[in-house]
Symmetry: C2
Subunit: 456 residues, 2 copies
Amino acid sequence: MSEHVVVVGADAAGMSAAHQMLRTAGRTGRELAVTVLEQGIHTSYSACGIPYWMAGDVDSADELVARTAEQHRDAGIDLRFGARVAGVDLTAREVALEGGERVGFDQLVVATGAHPIVPGWALGADGELPAGVRPVKTLDDGQWWIDRFAEAGPGAHVVVVGGGYIGLEVAEAALRRGHGVTLVTRSRVMSSLEPELSERVALALCDAGVEVVLDADVTGLVVGPDGAVTGVRWDGGARDCDLLVLALGVVPATEFLDGCELSRGEKGALRPDPHGRVAEGVWAAGDCCAVYRRLAADSVFRPLGTHANKMGRALGDSLAGGSLAFEGVLETAITRFAAGGQHVEVARTGLSREDAVAAGYDPVAVVTEGSTASGYMDEADPVAIWVMADRSSRRLLGVQVVGGRGAGKRIDTAAAVLWMEGTVDDLAWMDLSYSPPFSTTWEVLGVAARRTAERM
Amino acid sequence: MSEHVVVVGADAAGMSAAHQMLRTAGRTGRELAVTVLEQGIHTSYSACGIPYWMAGDVDSADELVARTAEQHRDAGIDLRFGARVAGVDLTAREVALEGGERVGFDQLVVATGAHPIVPGWALGADGELPAGVRPVKTLDDGQWWIDRFAEAGPGAHVVVVGGGYIGLEVAEAALRRGHGVTLVTRSRVMSSLEPELSERVALALCDAGVEVVLDADVTGLVVGPDGAVTGVRWDGGARDCDLLVLALGVVPATEFLDGCELSRGEKGALRPDPHGRVAEGVWAAGDCCAVYRRLAADSVFRPLGTHANKMGRALGDSLAGGSLAFEGVLETAITRFAAGGQHVEVARTGLSREDAVAAGYDPVAVVTEGSTASGYMDEADPVAIWVMADRSSRRLLGVQVVGGRGAGKRIDTAAAVLWMEGTVDDLAWMDLSYSPPFSTTWEVLGVAARRTAERM
């Protein structure tokens, strides 16, 4: 008799899990009937692509959809749209849908993702966002912003609140659409970078014509008589604007589990094991989960599409009798800011200095200036690399990169060393590729590691 | 009393060694007097940059010189030009210069580099190369070719004999200078790649308008009444031409050591230990040396500027009482072909399938097609990745990449895994960076590793 698997959420994690469990079941002989409940009407889309769609790089939302509903159904998945889960009864093994329907399950997979953060100061007395204010999270948000950008026209001024990855990418999109842009952030631009590198990103934004407001706690919006936003206020300042983007991050969408006895971590995130197990017959993957942080041996909330894909795949395989595991993260991340004549690539992996100290390491860190190619080549762009290692063990702990074309993806080499628990000397001396259009004779990542090694 | 160190050869290895030994001596208190004997008049130049100078990317030879003679002398190095070493007497601790002078040493550093291969078929009855025929190795060669390209003019036809890195780069240079180009190779184009990937490079050359002749053993040149080359013949074919570039690789420049009792390896290469020691008081680094190949645990001749730099540095440090070591190579290499509307990046690391079998591994290899960025981005270029691993240990053994912009430098991530002796599963699941302009959700290198892992 086949087992009924109910997957809640039809994005990266849920659909990866659904497809992988069917593939693995084909090998292990497990009989699975898979139902996916999706509250909206979209599946498997690239949320990370939305800022590029807003910028005009991507023609339509369809391009952001990796697999259509038909493709999922053809694979044997019972995909139901408009099915919003209100609660779960783990004893009765049922999910309750809004509207009253109950769906029984043998195995439950939670892949509900995350909600954008909407702070109190953004809401009107009616509890609603004023016209011209919205986060950027879903395809519907993306379409809404494209329409607003078009309506407002090139002269309009856009305030982006939040200086992280999405904030940076939305600032790029708005600038490339011809808007004036102000970026307001509570601390630094890209605060997941060390201050020395964060500053370089902020300077690139300024050089591109973005007004950058650092260390600003937003206190409220100014709303016109028609109910539309006309400005924003922060401690010590204010700015008129036509549109305001909330780019303040996300929280796990797990509130429908509040009645269940399931262990939850930071911000309510679920904490699955490497195979995706949360409890007997309950599994979870993707942005509703915390992830294991290898270097600190703890669990943190780091929602990211690539983790969601891998977690879904490991979960699906394990649920169907396989053994694939998601062995955690290094906090590797990359983005760029390319507008207003600037092109700066930003990437990080491993711990921050602060986190390294908290995890008991004795960090030594150095910033090295170098070049992405041999100095005599047109391809040569400046790059700054921060390398941190532990003084006694010499273990590599973290690397951050800010630079021109070709700088960013170098982070993967550092990530590989971190993954393998290598030392700063490994990174300094390993056989990395050299040819004038691609690197200096001694690859800059190796030079940066060597310089840190020399301080230890 | 200070020790006299004589360094023979003033390029990457020799000058890295000279500078590092002085730096380290400052720390260890060793008193060193350093003399560098250089047969020519150039130091520390980028031989790898010569094809890009020929192509017009680099304005003058000066740009290829990393440090001038003055800079070396300012660091306290006695740099002598035009000092050609004829022989070495290890018992008397002297080098003999051409012209008769003898220079005593306490420590001898051999950093003489390599000679280009000039096959018998290229030489006339007088033992000289016909006009219009020359290798590409030194700055003088580069200037000579720039002059010949200019004289011959855009309509001229250039034959490049040799399908390796230099052959590919010179074909690019000649094509970008407006010449017709034929590339003749004994086996495949880029024969250090597996056939599946080599073929992609050959197709890009063809698409760019290069005539590619594979599996051709050149048998002789055709020379006009004025003594200049007018054509080339190979088994089964021939080609008229105005110029012919010899790009057949190099051999270690160690013939002046023939009278010495020093262990030599492949092609006469010296075999220093990781600190650069060859014998008591004799050291060597750079293109005159074989290198330790980590994955096969053997010694091979792989002349490359980046190895020369590292070997020189380890040698210099060790000679002066330090402990830096050059721990061998993975055979990582990268180049590109960018001309005639094509841009293809080519990179490799680790063993070939043939070498893996010879080293006792049981290799499984798969070629995966993917993309350098998310499919909906303009940055998305096709890439093909070959991943090989050992069946029983799952150890990663080799990775090769051929693809568009951004493809090539991905090889460093694979190199890091090889350096750390990781498995194909490590590469598949490690936390590599993702953002739409930089990768697919699951980085293509990880996907390629996963697909190989699934065949094991």
